[in-house]
């Protein structure tokens, strides 16, 4: 683990009082920063909290929301709850997956830009079918709108990167 990452983690641990009962909160905070739970961070936190690595791993794998795999810059969540499902969310999922070349087993693109996941309900059934991109809700999706959304994200990405290069 790099020094600066350790500092980030130390601060997170400190903010939770280094308490065993805050395991989930600490993991949520780590994931907020890194978009996943890096192995060495979980080992470090196990040591600091006096928990076994196996126990921490158990907690991290229990919750669907925690990821042990690095995620792309844009995390696209496609709702497959009942309301979205009956309004054809599967077609949107298939479209996005094929556009990005990802699958259920391999949800992240090679360039680490996109991760595609399904969720069971986003609680926005009135807007079905929905998807979110980094927690921004996109309502009443169709495969066409999905295509446009991906296009937009890809372009924005290019522009963003150029801007970064100029800096």
């Amino acid at each position: 683990m790099e020094k600066k990452d350790q500092k980030v983690l130390d601060e997170i641990l400190e903010s939770h009082g280094c308490s065993q009962t805050a395991v989930i909160g600490i993991m949520q905070d780590i994931q907020k920063v890194y978009r996943y739970l890096p192995e060495e961070m979980l080992c470090y936190m196990a040591e600091k909290l006096h928990l076994s690595e196996a126990k921490v791993y158990g907690v991290a794998t229990f919750y669907e929301n925690f990821s042990l795999e690095p995620k792309g810059k844009y995390v696209i969540k496609i709702c497959d709850g009942t309301a979205c499902h009956v309004r054809q969310s599967t077609a949107i999922l298939t479209e996005i997956r094929s556009l990005l070349g990802v699958t259920e087993e391999k949800p992240t693109t090679e360039d680490m830009m996109f991760t595609v996941e399904t969720v069971s309900c986003l609680g926005a059934c009135g807007l079905a079918p929905v998807c979110t991109v980094n927690d921004v809700v996109h309502p009443a999706m169709t495969p066409e709108k999905a295509r446009a959304l991906i296009q937009e994200l890809k372009e924005g990405l290019g522009a963003g990167e150029e801007a970064a290069d100029e800096n």
């Binding site: 979980l42 076994s52 791993y57």
Partner: protein
């Protein structure tokens, strides 16, 4: 006032039973269980012990405390249905290669399937076949045979404070896993094998080395030399109907000769050497003016691994004396060196141990000289029982036989190593100046004996009071270490055995509960009583060895530098 429960219409008195399962057992009914062990916390996962209350509700008896006037039934159509279904579903998700399973005949799932007469399984096993983890020297993990009772997880974390394995994932994907699914050998597992001892199925078993030993026995160019640990003699007879604690060493020696090994010795000789070295270290440690921490014993390989992984900074306070097995292993290899050369033979050193961690110890680089291990193979008591069964030896009908020369003389001090507190008692016998029989008897009563997990005792050495801590079970060791580090406790000497109760309760022994473990320890003390030589330094063999084979080589043959490896 007396308290009663009504079980199947019958009044049963209860006192301080912590759950109704225990009260039901009192009523003479043994309910089926997978996940219930009285030494561990209550988990209530298997649901086999369910009972019906007076309103028809179904409750798990293991996790319900008894109440006065409580009325329950253990045998109703509903319960019959549930238990059978649970068992059928467990069997459905289980690989059923029973005849070739390591646990064949000793499996709890198999036993309950027999008890319930399950006629067939209607469901398909939809679990993917998962790889078997053979990375450890001590245990084999086969997740396909796991029923998720969690006994291994709880013994590993609650009793041993190791926590190498835990539940991972959830629902139908749940499994017992190491952190990040690593190989068990790459974790902080100490190889104590207690998980295998409590596993009701073949999901965690002890690795077998008997095949390699058979090969060595069958090879005429190999000289198979066996050493037998003290704790084995008081447990191995249990497989043949002897009482726990009954010393059957003579029969074991006779059986091993029939098996075809070339020489049989007693590890107690190694224990005598250990006491000579370790007590010397203790006297030196007592001289050190600003020594902060006690001298810790080093006989138990599970404990060594525990310190290495969890308290690496304490390693320098652990005795550098090798374990009795390794000391004796080195002596055996040295003793036969010339003879091997002359006869064109190769000596294969085999140790029969109550322990699974010894398998790991024997494989450690520190115990190899020029790439050759001092102990080639470690067999557990249970493995030896299987080997004897393979060739059909009737252990109980054999006339007892004696050990081979020259390593057949050992002291009672060496024998009691197998019980918690034994190493301490042997060391105290060595260091105190008063060698009278009365003084010897007195040592028994300073608090070294007994199966308690933590014992503290004190004795006078010259003007000084020596304070000793004796712990068995790594969880107890962990708690004691924390107290020592915080300054709450101070000791001069601390004996640690990884298995609760000491080596007699090792995971390589036939399965035992606390009563049997205690009887085995008593058996060792009885053996000690019957021996003429009580103290390690009185063993004439020890003197001969120091004057000859070990001369100027004590450091090489009797000491180990674990620190060196970790650098």
């Amino acid at each position: 006032m007396k308290k009663y429960m009504i079980i199947d219409g019958e009044r049963i008195e209860f006192t301080d039973e912590k759950n109704i399962l225990a009260v039901i057992r009192k009523a003479g009914i043994i309910l089926p269980t997978f996940c219930y062990y009285s030494d561990l916390s209550i988990y209530g996962a298997c649901r086999m012990c369910v009972v019906e209350d007076q309103w028809g509700g179904i409750i798990a008896s293991c996790s319900t405390p008894p109440k006065d006037g409580m009325e329950i039934r253990t045998n109703t159509p509903q319960l019959y249905y549930h238990r059978k279904r649970i068992l059928e579903l467990l069997l459905a998700a289980h690989c059923r290669d029973c005849t070739t399973c390591e646990k064949n005949g000793k499996c709890k799932l198999q036993e309950l399937a027999t008890r319930f007469g399950i006629p067939g399984v209607r469901f398909e096993n939809t679990n993917p076949i998962r790889p078997i983890d053979t990375s450890s020297k001590a245990i084999v993990r086969n997740p396909n045979k796991c029923i998720l009772c969690g006994d291994c997880v709880r013994v590993c974390s609650e009793i041993q404070h190791v926590g190498a394995i835990d539940f991972a994932h959830r629902g139908s994907k749940m499994e017992i896993s190491t952190a990040f699914g690593r190989d068990i050998a790459d974790t902080n597992c100490v190889s104590c094998g207690q998980c295998a001892a409590v596993c009701p199925t073949g999901a965690i078993t002890i690795k077998r080395d008997s095949h390699d030993v058979w090969e060595a026995i069958h090879n005429p160019d190999k000289r198979v030399v066996v050493q037998i640990a003290p704790a084995v003699r008081v447990a191995i007879g249990e497989a043949y109907g002897y009482e726990p604690g009954e010393n059957t060493i003579g029969k074991l020696v006779a059986s091993l000769r029939k098996l075809g090994v070339d020489a049989i010795f007693d590890t107690s000789v190694g224990a005598d050497l250990t006491i000579m070295e370790e007590s010397e270290e203790l006297l030196e440690a007592l001289e050190e003016k600003d020594r902060k921490y006690p001298l810790f014993t080093s006989c138990c390989p599970g404990w060594i691994r525990f310190v290495e992984t969890q308290y690496p900074h304490m390693m320098k306070y652990v005795s550098t004396s090798k374990s009795p097995m390794e000391m004796f292993g080195a002596v055996i290899k040295e003793y036969y060196r010339k003879q091997d050369k002359k006869e064109g033979k190769e000596t294969v050193s085999v140790a029969i141990m109550p322990c699974t961690a010894k398998k790991f110890e024997a494989s450690r680089e520190e115990f190899k000289r020029k790439g050759v291990p001092d102990v080639d193979y470690v067999l557990t008591s249970a493995e030896v029982i299987t080997m004897l069964q393979e060739i059909g030896i009737r252990f109980d009908r054999l006339e007892p036989e004696a050990y081979d020369m020259p390593f057949s003389i050992y002291s009672g001090a060496g024998v009691i190593f197998g019980a918690t507190g034994g190493v301490t008692e042997a060391a105290v016998r060595r260091v105190i100046a008063d060698k009278s029989p009365k003084a010897l008897k007195e040592i028994e009563f300073i608090g070294v004996r007994g199966m308690e997990g933590v014992k503290v005792c004190q004795f006078a050495l010259g003007e000084r009071q020596i304070r000793i801590g004796i712990v068995s079970g790594l969880g107890n060791a962990d708690n004691l270490l924390q107290k020592i580090e915080s300054g709450e406790e101070h000791f001069d000497f601390v004996e640690v055995m990884a298995c609760p109760g000491g080596c007699v309760a090792g995971a390589g022994q036939p399965f035992a509960r606390s009563t049997e473990k205690r009887m085995r320890a008593e058996g060792l003390y009885k053996n000690d009583k019957a021996l003429q030589i009580k103290r390690s330094e009185e063993n004439p063999l020890v003197e001969t060895l120091y004057g000859d084979l070990l001369k100027n080589r004590e450091h090489e043959l009797l000491h180990v530098d674990y620190m060196h490896e970790s650098d």
